[in-house]
């Protein structure tokens, strides 16, 4: 079973420290949702994990291996996939190239069969991608790009999947399907998932743990049940 542990200190932008201190742990097959109001620092925290913002100190461990000093691009090779917010894709490449390129970048000597398997998994999840294999990613709709972005992350067969607001801009039906799929992925492939999300109601259906950020500080952490039962915080942060 994978275990992903991370701790951050002083993450932010130049002089601006957004996250003074934060530690998270997730095990394979589990999902951690990061909640909190806008500007709480969810995105900053996730970016700090993969080294995209300035961090005072960063410690990463995956399955006991220390990845603290590993540069961003190597994390993908170690099995940590990151899907940033805003449905970012390689706009000048086609859907197929987006997926194949992501696969090839991390699988140097993979066989065609495993590639086909991964492609099929992506298409099962998002059938529209199969129809649009030759469309330029930049010309797709916002939601379609979001699907491609997630599919691309899955092409690297991650052990840890980090998603920033993956459902923003997705149709309700797809949100439902996506969470189902993420649930499947975490149980069948033993992948650990860390996700920032506003759609708490949908997320809790598959999430195991919950971390609420407020102004850069962890305001509440625990299992989904614990959070649900904490009346005060539920009202304050989740509006449930």
């Amino acid at each position: 079973m994978n275990r992903f542990e991370a701790s951050l200190e002083r993450a932010g932008y130049g002089e601006l420290v957004v996250i003074p201190q934060l530690a998270i742990q997730v095990s394979g097959g589990e999902m951690l949702v990061l909640l909190g109001p806008n500007g709480a620092g969810k995105t900053t925290a996730l970016k700090a994990l993969v080294g995209d913002v300035d961090v005072g100190r960063r410690a990463l461990r995956l399955d006991g291996a220390d990845l603290s000093g590993t540069p961003g691009w190597r994390l993908a090779h170690a099995g940590i996939a990151f899907v940033p917010d805003g449905a970012r894709c390689f706009g000048t490449a086609t859907v197929h190239e987006n997926l194949r390129g992501a696969f090839e970048a991390t699988h140097r000597h993979a066989d065609a069969a495993s590639r086909r398997r991964l492609f099929d998994r992506a298409f099962d999840l998002f059938p529209i991608l199969r129809q649009r294999l030759d469309q330029l990613a930049g010309s797709m709709s916002g939601g379609q790009r979001q699907m491609l972005a997630i599919a691309r992350a899955l092409m690297i067969q991650p052990k840890v999947l980090i998603l920033d607001e993956p459902t923003a801009g997705l149709a309700p039906k797809l949100v439902e399907e996506l969470f189902e799929a993420l649930g499947r992925i975490k149980t069948t492939s033993g992948c650990a998932i860390v996700m920032a999300e506003q759609n708490f109601a949908a997320a809790v259906s598959v999430a195991d743990h919950c971390l609420v950020l407020d102004e850069g500080r962890p305001a509440l952490a625990g299992t989904v049940e614990q959070v649900r039962s904490n009346e005060k915080l539920r009202v304050a942060y989740l509006g449930l």
Partner: protein
């Protein structure tokens, strides 16, 4: 009359090959890094000088000189990239433009100090026999230029389209941060494209030494033509660049041959054609049109 036309077309095409060879490496680099590398012209010049010296001092064949120049310029490119270009790549396009201009001034003047501004000629015997067909003559060296130029292009095309690095280069140029998230070592990929571009510059420098004189300033005109070619074909579009160079050289060659005062007109007309093409197709003949 027809032989005159055929002769002119063939010679223009062999010039096209020379321009194309110079542009070959640049198309790859520009396609990836989006930098107009002015120093590419000086890299070509250095390749020409190296080939020249290897022949003149040590009697080494220009074939060898070309290969050696390719290797030498690849190494220099890596040094330049690590030395400062890597940092400049993260800045905006004006800075990149100016940085490569600074580099080009630097290399050009170092070359003038080292070798004086005088032109030199490599008196090597032609690499290939001259082609003589019914009044039409194509000098052997021009054939060699055409061949090597084509090979360079095929190589660039293959690297870009049939290797994993090709896709990685495109990803890296599209969105470097995202590419890093996809597991691509963006810095390495940029460096690689720069090194390959440098190697191509070195080889094309050897070609320059074959058919042209060798002088510290030769890179300046060549690199401007190379930019025109790249824009004509569409940034980063390698077959497009090949056609672009043919258009440029044919316009210039045929205007010079058949229009009175054409030697002056030709150069200008070639660039007017570039402008016209861009008006109709803002991303070059074969460039992908702008996307949102």
């Amino acid at each position: 009359m027809t032989t005159a036309v055929i002769q002119a077309v063939l010679l223009a095409l062999s010039m096209a090959a020379l321009y194309a060879a110079v542009a070959a490496g640049l198309t790859l680099t520009v396609g990836v890094t989006r930098i107009i590398n002015f120093a590419h012209g000086e890299f070509v010049m250095l390749g020409a000088f190296l080939t020249y010296w290897l022949y003149t001092r040590f009697g080494l064949s220009p074939w060898f000189g070309m290969a050696a120049s390719g290797v030498a310029l690849a190494i220099l490119s890596a040094a330049v990239y690590r030395g400062f270009l890597a940092r400049v790549l993260k800045q905006d396009e004006h800075n990149q433009l100016l940085a490569t201009l600074g580099l080009s001034i630097l290399i050009l003047n170092l070359a003038i100090i080292a070798w004086s501004p005088d032109p030199r000629v490599m008196q090597a015997p032609p690499l290939l026999p001259t082609l003589n067909l019914g009044g039409v003559t194509v000098p052997g060296n021009n054939i060699a230029v055409a061949l090597v130029g084509l090979i360079l292009f095929v190589a660039m095309y293959a690297i870009r389209n049939y290797t994993r690095y090709g896709t990685q280069m495109r990803f890296a140029s599209d969105d470097p941060t995202l590419a890093a998230h996809a597991g691509i070592n963006v810095d390495r990929v940029f460096e690689l494209s720069f090194v390959i571009g440098g190697a191509a510059a070195g080889v094309s420098g050897g070609l320059v030494a074959l058919v042209l004189y060798v002088q510290p300033t030769i890179g300046v005109d060549l690199v401007i033509r190379a930019f025109a070619i790249i824009a004509l074909g569409g940034l980063g579009n390698i077959p497009g660049a090949l056609i672009g160079s043919a258009i440029l050289a044919l316009t210039e060659g045929l205007t010079s041959t058949f229009v009175p005062q054409g030697g002056s007109w030709g150069f200008g007309i070639a660039f007017v054609i570039l402008l016209l093409v861009l008006v109709v197709r803002p991303s070059g003949l074969f460039g992908k049109q702008a996307h949102p």
